[in-house]
């Protein structure tokens, strides 16, 4: 919002962070969070708030989700929202791979096509981020 940065702040800034790289880490945490949340959602006793709070995997998922949000905030500080927000879709790639490894979910041509498309989309956005 406020593009004006005073000189004191510029000197405090660490050597150029890479926002796309930060969001990359954010998606790794987000995927782990989603696997936990899915496990929790499958075992949810009832839909109410109390049912969610007592659900341990679900709460663990939220904690990781919080951590990944933190990384997203740090990335957004330096990067463009329109560029970084779609990169979050990398989460689907990790979730698909993790589901295959952990839950032995099947991998089929549709999923592989989707993964390839998402990764190439992120690569295109990453190129745009460099200028």
């Amino acid at each position: 919002m406020n593009a004006v940065t005073d000189s004191a702040q510029i000197s405090e800034m660490p050597a150029r962070r890479q926002p796309v790289g930060l969001v990359f880490c954010c998606t790794l945490l987000g995927a782990a969070a989603q696997v936990l949340m899915k496990t929790g959602a499958n075992h949810m006793a009832h839909a109410g708030l109390s049912g969610m709070i007592t659900n341990l995997p679900l709460m663990g998922g939220y904690c990781l989700y919080g951590l990944s949000t933190l990384l997203l905030v740090l990335a957004l500080k330096d990067g463009e929202l329109s560029l970084l927000y779609p990169v979050i879709a990398l989460t689907y790639v990790w979730v698909t791979v993790l589901s295959f490894l952990i839950f032995k979910d099947n991998i089929n041509p549709w999923k592989v096509t989707g993964i390839v498309l998402i990764v190439s989309g992120v690569a295109v956005l990453g190129k745009g981020g460099k200028r």
């Binding site: 919002m1 406020n2 949000t69 500080k77 927000y85 089929n108 549709w110 989707g114 998402i118 190439s120």
Partner: protein
């Protein structure tokens, strides 16, 4: 198709709220003091970073609706493409609220990602 419309609406609502969460996080991040210890403290008075707090609250609300939406009998093949609509909303909010340029590179990347999420959903039957 056995995914109830109510589940679709829940996931759409989650995507919509989530896209606004991104907007608030971005504007909150701009008001951040440098240093991780100052994460909730804004640079200018009043020091509580309400934008960042709102963004986090919206993400929580968004994932609450998301979890309700993907419960059985919700099918991921139908629901995942709806989540990626959130990325398209965000593109427009970025333009409106932050005057970010909408380059053809961004459209191309976004198109590939939305198509990719669609295919991942298609394979998740």
């Amino acid at each position: 198709m056995k995914t109830p419309v109510s589940h679709m609406l829940l996931v759409l609502l989650a995507a919509f709220i989530g896209s606004f969460g991104g907007v608030f996080l971005k504007s909150g991040a701009a008001a951040l003091r440098s240093g991780i210890l100052y994460l909730v403290i804004a640079r200018d008075p009043p020091y509580f970073n309400w934008r960042l707090a709102s963004g986090v609250a919206m993400f929580l609300l968004s994932s609450y609706f998301f979890v309700l939406g993907i419960r059985p009998p919700g099918e991921l093949s139908v629901l995942y493409p709806m989540v990626s609509l959130g990325y398209i909303f965000t593109l427009f909010w970025s333009r409106i609220f932050f005057k970010e340029p909408l380059t053809s590179l961004k459209f191309a990347g976004l198109f590939l990602i939305v198509a990719g999420v669609f295919f991942v959903g298609l394979g998740s039957k």
